[in-house]
């Protein structure tokens, strides 16, 4: 099934391995990801914090391209890109004047047709249909992930229907269950890692992540699993610092959900580029005889 795909800037740079994994794993689940042409940056939180017009106009250009592509649905793996693009679409649905002002500058106009999907929307669909379990050649026995959603997978600053609980989502747990992994119960699954504060307010971000880290360790997780490139980069890159500053000796790999599905499908660690993590992430999988 062909589906439009918006990777966003992170998946072309700091988490390029997530892009590789998305294409491979979703391909094996029957999705042919068609990257939309000449997309631009969604503006992320920076546009929202700087200029209301740009916060809508930047993702709107991508929506126009996606609408013109003719596909019915577009998958956006990055939680921030997904959130900003969805908010732009909702805003333009209810604001014809703004839509006209933006469309006046676009060669491909926003029509409001394309249905946006997060990576969890897609994966939960495949978990419910049984296809993820069917494709899981290796059951991930012994893997105890703390499913980490972060902020933007469930919370939006306007009314948005989400197919999961805002406070205690279960989508990732469902996918992990289909893989034979035993997701732990914990209290920080939707807490904030600080996002860009890791760069511009590092002490704050490290403190927020220390709470997340402590709870995951205390509850017996042996890794994190996430869908958000910002959460992955932050937790992975700063785990050493968090551990040193807050006295946590454990180091937990921070996997993308696509890495776990890929491993269970029998895709090699090298193909999935699991060596791109800051925290050593291969040994745990080897120790459990998963690779």
């Amino acid at each position: 099934m062909e589906i439009a795909y918006y990777p966003g800037c992170s998946l072309h740079a700091s988490t390029a391995f997530y892009d590789v994994q998305c294409r491979d794993v979703l391909g094996r689940l029957g999705f042919d990801l068609k990257e939309i042409g000449d997309w631009n940056c969604c503006g992320a939180t920076s546009a929202a914090k700087t200029n209301d017009f740009l916060a809508v106009a930047l993702p709107a250009r991508n929506l126009g391209i996606a609408d013109a592509s003719g596909y019915a649905e577009m998958m956006i793996p990055c939680a921030s890109c997904y959130s900003r693009t969805l908010l732009a679409q909702k805003t333009l649905e209810g604001d014809k004047d703004l839509r006209d002002r933006i469309n006046a500058e676009l060669s491909e106009k926003v029509q409001g047709k394309i249905k946006l999907l997060s990576i969890l929307d897609v994966l939960v669909r495949k978990a419910k249909s049984g296809e993820i379990a069917d494709r899981a050649e290796k059951k991930l026995a012994g893997l105890k992930p703390a499913c980490y959603y972060g902020c933007l997978q469930t919370r939006y600053p306007m009314d948005v229907e989400i197919g999961d609980s805002v406070e205690n989502p279960q989508g990732m747990e469902m996918v992990c269950g289909a893989l034979g992994a035993e997701a732990i119960e914990w209290g920080y699954k939707t807490d904030c890692c600080g996002a860009s504060a890791s760069v511009n307010d590092n002490d704050l971000s490290v403190r927020l992540m220390s709470n997340i880290m402590k709870d995951a360790v205390v509850r017996g997780a042996n890794c994190f699993v996430t869908t958000c490139p910002m959460c992955q980069l932050n937790l992975d890159a700063y785990e050493q610092k968090i551990g040193e500053r807050y006295g946590i000796s454990e180091r937990l790999p921070v996997y993308f959900i696509t890495e776990l599905i890929g491993i269970s499908m029998g895709i090699g660690a090298a193909e999935l580029q699991i060596d791109r993590h800051f925290v050593e992430s291969i040994e745990l999988l080897k120790g459990l005889n998963l690779i």
Binding site: T45, N51, L54, C151, S196
Partner: protein
């Protein structure tokens, strides 16, 4: 109990609250100070001011306090306050609106690095249509250096900051998590038009 009388400049209060409500799309008057937002705010310990306090300042017309507090700058836009608010008030939208107002009025941001970060991010986007992490971080550090030289911690603060970021940069390079090529989109003229419309 203090016997201080609460004085409210009603006209000023109305115009400040009105402007913020209009810009943020949030109904400030719906706040009944239940403080569920405060309980959930992850940065409240650092900022002192929690979302309920900020809304109160705005309603009372305390412009100086509302425009000069750490919540405006340290809000991580996690949207916890808004999803827990029984009256659906999203304070993250309010802190966004206040940042825009501070910028338009050429006031000093309380945490310059945060303002520099978001401005550098958009500048990089306006150059290529996509964010180039190397360029973006370069612009960001130049802005920070300028701040430190004019009113901050001087050369030492600049060196410490750059050292910290270089450490991360080097580690990212080793892990092949930095890309050096420049992705310039073909539709730059459209993106530039959107940027110029945004300035109007």
């Amino acid at each position: 109990m203090s016997s201080q009388t609460l004085t409210v400049e009603t006209e000023a209060a109305g115009s400040l609250a009105g402007e913020v409500a209009a810009r943020s799309g949030q109904n400030l008057n719906a706040c009944y100070q239940c403080r569920r937002c405060a309980a959930g705010c992850p940065v409240g310990d650092d900022t002192g001011v929690t979302p309920d306090r900020l809304i109160r300042m705005l309603i009372l017309g305390e412009k100086e306090e509302a425009m000069n507090n750490l919540l405006v700058w340290k809000c991580v836009a996690c949207y916890t306050c808004g999803t827990r608010c029984p009256n659906n008030i999203h304070t993250a939208r309010i802190t966004e609106a206040l940042k825009h107002m501070i910028k338009e009025q050429h006031l000093e941001p309380m945490v310059p690095k945060v303002a520099n970060f978001h401005s550098a991010f958009l500048t990089s986007t306006s150059h290529f249509g996509r964010v180039n992490e190397m360029e973006f971080m370069g612009i960001y550090e130049m802005k920070n250096a300028k701040n430190e030289l004019t009113k901050g911690g001087g050369v030492k603060a600049i060196v410490d900051e750059i050292k910290a970021q270089m450490g991360l940069g080097k580690a990212m390079m080793k892990l092949k998590r930095i890309h050096f090529s420049i992705d310039r989109i073909k539709g730059m003229s459209e993106v530039k038009r959107l940027f110029s419309k945004a300035r109007k």
